[in-house]
């Protein structure tokens, strides 16, 4: 039974083996300090901006009802 399950996994394992490394990482292509900071900044911006915006509305509504 266990062997059969493992056998079912075989196609997926095969796919993993076929996968090639993606050399499209834009961070790796850029070596300058300025670019590195730009990546940090934009990652932070795109991550935290929606959280701050939604958090702001939730805070406002909660404060209004407190």
């Amino acid at each position: 039974m266990k062997l059969l399950r493992l056998f079912r996994l075989f196609p997926f394992l095969l796919l993993l083996a076929l996968a090639k490394p993606a050399l499209a990482c834009s961070v790796c292509a850029v070596a300058s300090e300025e670019a590195r900071y730009a990546y940090y900044f934009t990652t932070g911006l795109l991550t935290f901006l929606p959280l701050f915006m939604i958090g702001g509305i939730v805070y406002y509504v909660a404060k209004k009802y407190r």
Binding site: V30, S32, Y37, T42, L46, P50
Partner: protein, 198 residues
């Protein structure tokens, strides 16, 4: 539950007032998506800008910094006139000063877009196009998207003006339009510094 702002409906049941008017909340949610859109554009711009040796690239025309700075003053002034229009609307809803202030906002907005258009025509004649370089592509994409929003906001203001003239404008509709205009105005200095000055 807060009952201070609650009121009774026709059936006698307690009806709670929303903390934010629906039109205002809808506009805020819309602006949130717009902000993410502009954040993505700005992110792409910053990454590309920091990845190249020289920015602006050699052989590309320089952007009209001074004229656009003056144009920015027109746009920022329009936020002040709209603020005053809303204050006037709260005091004397359909009075003459409200209409005049709203009209002034409208003219300042149109002036901003017209000057932008004029400068664009000059830049295109100097060879800065969408396909001339990444510099040109980002310039027209970011500033053009903002200009489209400004045009949309002007159409919104025209609609508000019409409603006001017909004495059908509600305070919450005015506020929603005002928030969108503030978004267009508030975003501009950020884009100006990023695209024109850095």
């Amino acid at each position: 539950m807060r009952y201070a702002e609650a009121s009774y409906s026709g059936e006698g049941a307690l009806k709670r007032q929303p903390p934010i008017a629906n039109s205002v909340l809808g506009m805020i949610l819309f602006i949130m998506t717009e902000l993410m859109f502009f954040a993505a554009l700005v992110s792409a711009f910053l990454i590309i800008k920091s990845s190249v040796e020289a920015w602006p690239p050699e052989g590309q025309p320089r952007l009209p910094v001074f004229v656009t700075a003056i144009n920015s003053v027109f746009l920022l002034s329009s936020a002040v006139t709209l603020f005053l229009a809303n204050r006037s609307f709260r005091q004397d809803a359909y009075g003459d000063p409200t209409l005049k202030l709203l009209k002034a906002t409208l003219y300042l907005g149109i002036l901003f877009v017209a000057i932008q258009g004029f400068e664009w025509a000059r830049l295109i004649s100097y060879g800065l196009t969408m396909t001339s370089s990444q510099y040109g592509a980002f310039f027209y994409l970011i500033i053009g998207t903002h200009a489209l929003h400004a045009i949309g906001a002007i159409i919104g203001l025209v609609w508000l003006y019409r409603l006001m003239k017909e004495r059908r404008l509600k305070q919450q509709t005015f506020s929603a339009g005002q928030i969108f205009w503030y978004f267009v105005v508030g975003l501009w200095p950020i884009l100006y510094v990023l695209v024109y000055l850095t």
